[in-house]
Symmetry: D2
Subunit: 245 residues, 4 copies
């Protein structure tokens, strides 16, 4: 059995297992998502977002692209970020790189792979920014590992440069930014201990912008789930329309 | 315990479990990825890519964005697609929508959510293309479910419109395109049984383009893993450089 | 003389001519721009924006890309549009196509040209939307000309789909959208007489969204120049900072 | 008379003037474009591309966006670049900034303007790269002017980072890259004398990639017009199709 049939068969088994473990599992999920986390990770097949973070369905909003890049004029990423932060109100945003990343390796070498070359220039830009440190590392393996970390750090910084994060930081429940690296060789997720404010500390005068939007009027001091749920709002709206008739 | 500490604790437990199950698990992964599948799904926290497809680490390359959209001039998606098809040589490409999708619900209503509105116009365009069928459905829930399916179908079509897929289709191992919908309410993954060629059958005269690139010279009749592995090529290159010295 | 030297020589002559015509010409320009128009046209070398519209420096903000496309998730275009509408307060937005457009011709044929193919799929999508009308036209030249017009019409529609235009339409000085086609063969600019509201008339139920931002509080009934001028505000800000010391 | 009527009236006068000057003017244009130049400039209304370069219709392919940015993962710009270089075979590529640029001023200050903020982060990144030089300039006006120049230099570099330029550089007619600044206050176009190779000289080890595509087989030593003309190829193709019948 191969291809899509295998996937469908796998799915049946997974559903059976989940139902056996908890008969309410799917019923609970259908009530809407209340993710506390936004995970921005690599498309690499060896980086299963839920597995390595131990999060179950409903807990983590996910964007995955090649080499976990945060390009600040990329509408795909910006749409995910704006929705996660302003509509769902996530609390922690994780940029997760991984050692052995093919995209990072490609950017560290001089071979072309096609259209993706232009996307990967973003990682070459990271090398430029940290060239001295990068070149000082003589061991090939160590240098490649450090580039993965530096790339994560710059992507956390890229998040902090957006007006989405800058405005959310002035709200009542500012999201926390984190940079992490996953090691495929042992499964361990390492916190680089870099955060939005640390990363921007010596760059505030370049990147900080003044809020034009007011801070949200919500005064909740703890997380109580998403601010909006379009799926529910759609239903409520339709009901309202019906009731008005 | 909350936030990132919880994630790191979860990760430790996951590593312990995996090692207990299979002491070679991580060692095998470190040898490189050979994904057969590319999964294009929603960022929604209730759609864990590996779980619902029953695929383990190493099997599935993943891109997730809001409402599983394939925008044919989106460099983020195109980079994933080109790398997956031309460098990794994936065999099956799955566009996976899900019922209860907040992005689709937002596009079916008339409320603004911010920057993401412009991303979601792509779903409104799907409604326009299938307006008659869409409007004929009187039941709100059914209409919303159908929009999720129509959206998946158009995204499969969008894949087939790219020169990446059109050129790969003329190669020796043409990828197969699939449209699937996941039901959060019961966990079942449904095959919509739409494929690139079906979806394009009556549109060939509009979208088909002539290959300028030759078909790959590989004559392998079955999948044997990725064509390239930048991480390994980087190491090989460095070794070669050393040996030449 | 060739290349850049020719350009620099041309520039010298142009400056001399302008100064001879009006010694205050450049002095006036340095006072800031107050463009009333936003021109969205093709990159084609035969479509000089100022020439064909008879507008002088300071009158028209310009974006030019291949085949004058308005892709509603393109940050390049959206940035131009948002700045032109919300910061400069332009009054008329012109989407200008032209007969004999190479991009449109490429999309009407089945030959690949490279990365640009994926950008041009947007024009193939226009053919799909208007297939019956398009195919009914038997004459090759006439059909190609009609596609240029249909493309302009859909790009005007694409403008009207953005939250930028929808919100501006509820303000005190709503911009007017226009679709025009330029004929390279005789220099004439033709008004297709399509406007945002006309184009959306039968699609309001699909695309209209409710404003979340308040209409601007400006009650001016006629155009008085840009709302903001970052260059001047930068200077004013610096002065303020100095005075505070 | 205002709005679009004014534009149409202007156009009539322009056509009359052109025909009076040269009755063959438009007839010649209709034969296709053979642009030698690609102009990448700002959308600012005071930077008329043809005027300041003294180029006539047919000579210069044009892309204009906010602050003349070359974002290496922007499909809008990449499509223009690939078409100009690979299909039209332009010889000189000009990145043209201008003093008094509103986008650059906005990036040098800390005020938000909306969606465009994220686009302008690219200019803040230029400040970061050249921070020491930038901060050393005490005079506000001088510092703003220098940022305009630094921005142009980095955009020339961004061009040189793309695989499009890198591959074209190995062809028989490698394009020349130029950085220029236009002074609104006196009309003068200044050559910054920065070129692709200069700008990359100390960064080759980071950005240079190896060609996978062969150099074009054309051995022409001088420019003879575009390599392809989709509009003509479309006609030829249709004729061929007819003749085959």
């Amino acid at each position: 059995m191969a291809g899509i049939s295998k996937i469908l068969e796998n799915n049946k088994q997974w559903v059976a297992t989940k139902n056996a473990e908890d008969p309410q599992f799917f019923k609970n999920l259908a009530n809407g998502q209340k993710p506390k986390y936004l995970f921005i990770g690599c498309s690499d097949s060896r980086v299963p977002a839920s597995g390595i973070t131990g999060t179950g369905p409903g807990e983590m909003f996910v964007h995955r692209n090649i080499a976990n890049l945060v390009v600040h004029s990329d509408m795909n990423l910006l749409s995910v970020l704006q929705y996660a932060v302003e509509v769902l109100g996530v609390q922690d945003i994780l940029v997760v790189g991984h050692y052995g990343c093919g995209g990072v390796a490609a950017a560290a070498a001089n071979k072309q792979y096609g259209l993706i070359d232009n996307w990967l220039v973003n990682i070459r830009d990271v090398i430029r920014l940290h060239e001295a440190e990068y070149l000082r590392i003589k061991d090939d393996g160590q240098r490649a590992r450090r580039l993965v970390e530096l790339n994560v750090m710059e992507q956390v910084r890229n998040l902090a440069k957006t007006n989405i994060i800058q405005n959310a930081m002035r709200g009542d429940n500012p999201p926390r930014l984190h940079g992490l690296v996953y090691d495929i060789a042992d499964g361990v997720l390492k916190d680089l201990d870099v955060h939005g404010d640390d990363m921007m500390a010596d760059m505030e005068h370049i990147y900080a912008t003044e809020a034009v939007t007011k801070a949200p009027d919500k005064d909740a001091s703890s997380y109580e789930g998403p601010k909006h749920d379009p799926a529910k709002e759609l239903v409520a709206e339709k009901k309202g329309a019906v009731e008005k008739k």
